[in-house]
Symmetry: C2
Subunit: 217 residues, 2 copies
DNA sequence: CGCGACCTTGACTAAGTTCAAGCTGGGTGG
DNA sequence: CCACCCAGCTTGAACTTAGTCAAGGTCGCG
């Protein structure tokens, strides 16, 4: 399922912090697109840092629906759930490099307080995102949802051209819409000259104010 | 706005725990129905324990929409937001008794670790609830939402007859529906002999399995 | 080049909203 | 104590939005 990458104790320079135990202890792993990183029900023994790529957490339900927990991007910590077992499954949306450290090892290395901090920060961030996600789903129209989503992606990315790591189905699941509706809304935003899709996975904002308006709407 | 109740250092017996600093230090306050307990933008200097009543947190938006953060019930802690200012407003849905303690006082009384624990637990609980709320809003039909909501209320309450602390508008805001749709779904659930409303604020589950099915659906 | 996955588009349908009346029941004043 | 009043709830009919089903298009890859 997952294959180790050579350097076992490599602390990638770009991520090192003064006391970055995670970088020192963590194991670098590569996951191919669509590979599972952890599954719901597995023990929450590890801490994950996404060095490169995009990850999706989701919850498989009996009836086939798959509500998306969240998306995680370059540099973010994920998998820090608060119970002893994962309630969500994490999958690589694109090829990913992930730094994995066991909680035990972190504690053994004296990173008790650091681990606590990591978990705290990740939990607060997840809560904030969940609240934002909630306000998106309650009383927002399809076009507002799509506009908010694109705006959010653009905010996280300094480049002019924004890459969509996820396909339409993932967007739809996240936004509580169908793939067709997402597609239509995107077409509509393009006709309104608010965004411009170079391909279905890359877009550029042509009228930021208008997009903000639609997102807030 | 709020009026102190006589007993300043009364630790209500039913809430006392081995080391219940909150009960010892907290000030008991009464809030009338619809009174504001704290407002968005205020500093998060206090910790609140709801001794009796029901509280709603919500976020007032420019356009008049008011997404509901959550409802809090007897015995729960609330207002433990993670930033220095409240992002949500808390209001009493019914007449409430609230135990209020300042964070400073708790720390001064040596409750540093206890405070930390309180905040951690409340944050985790809020996150869990937010996730549940999310899964309710993504891809659930109106009837499923209402069924889930009623089921949730009933689970929290051991009595056979369940009191609805909130009106239809609050339910609608929480469920991402209109007041009319909520009303129609309730009527429908009654026709299906799944629940029985004694008045618009009290109901009884007549077919628990059926309600569970509809809620899960 | 052609296949297959993914995206877009169209026509129709279903679900929920909106707008507009009516109803109900709990509280108040005569 | 009763009648009235009014906020909150329910109901109905028309309408709007998003979903469904089905077909066609596009892009990347073997």
């Amino acid at each position: 399922m997952m294959h180790m990458v050579n350097e076992f104790r490599a602390a990638p320079r770009e991520l090192s912090q003064p006391t970055d135990l995670m970088g020192a202890i963590g194991v670098r792993m590569a996951f191919a697109k669509d590979e599972e990183i952890y599954g719901q029900g597995e023990a929450t023994d590890f801490v994950y840092r996404l060095v490169h790529g995009t990850v999706r957490t989701s919850h498989f339900m009996a009836d086939g629906r798959r509500p998306i927990g969240d998306f995680y991007y370059d540099g973010e910590l994920f998998g820090l759930e608060t119970r002893s077992q994962h309630g969500l499954t994490a999958e690589a949306l694109s090829d990913c490099i992930v730094l994995v450290a066991s909680r035990k090892a972190l504690i053994a290395a004296g990173g008790d307080e650091e681990l606590r901090q990591l978990i705290w920060k990740a939990t607060v961030r997840d809560l904030d995102r969940a609240r934002e996600h909630l306000s998106l789903l309650v009383r927002k129209s399809a076009s507002e949802r799509v506009a908010s989503f694109l705006m959010g992606l653009a905010d996280r990315c300094c480049d002019e051209v924004v890459e969509l790591a996820m396909g339409r189905q993932d967007m739809a699941d996240y936004l509580g819409l169908t793939i067709e509706t997402v597609s239509r809304m995107i077409t509509q935003l393009q006709s309104a000259k608010v965004v411009e899709f170079k391909s279905c996975r890359q877009f550029r904002i042509t009228d930021r104010d208008a997009l903000l308006d639609m997102a807030a709407g």
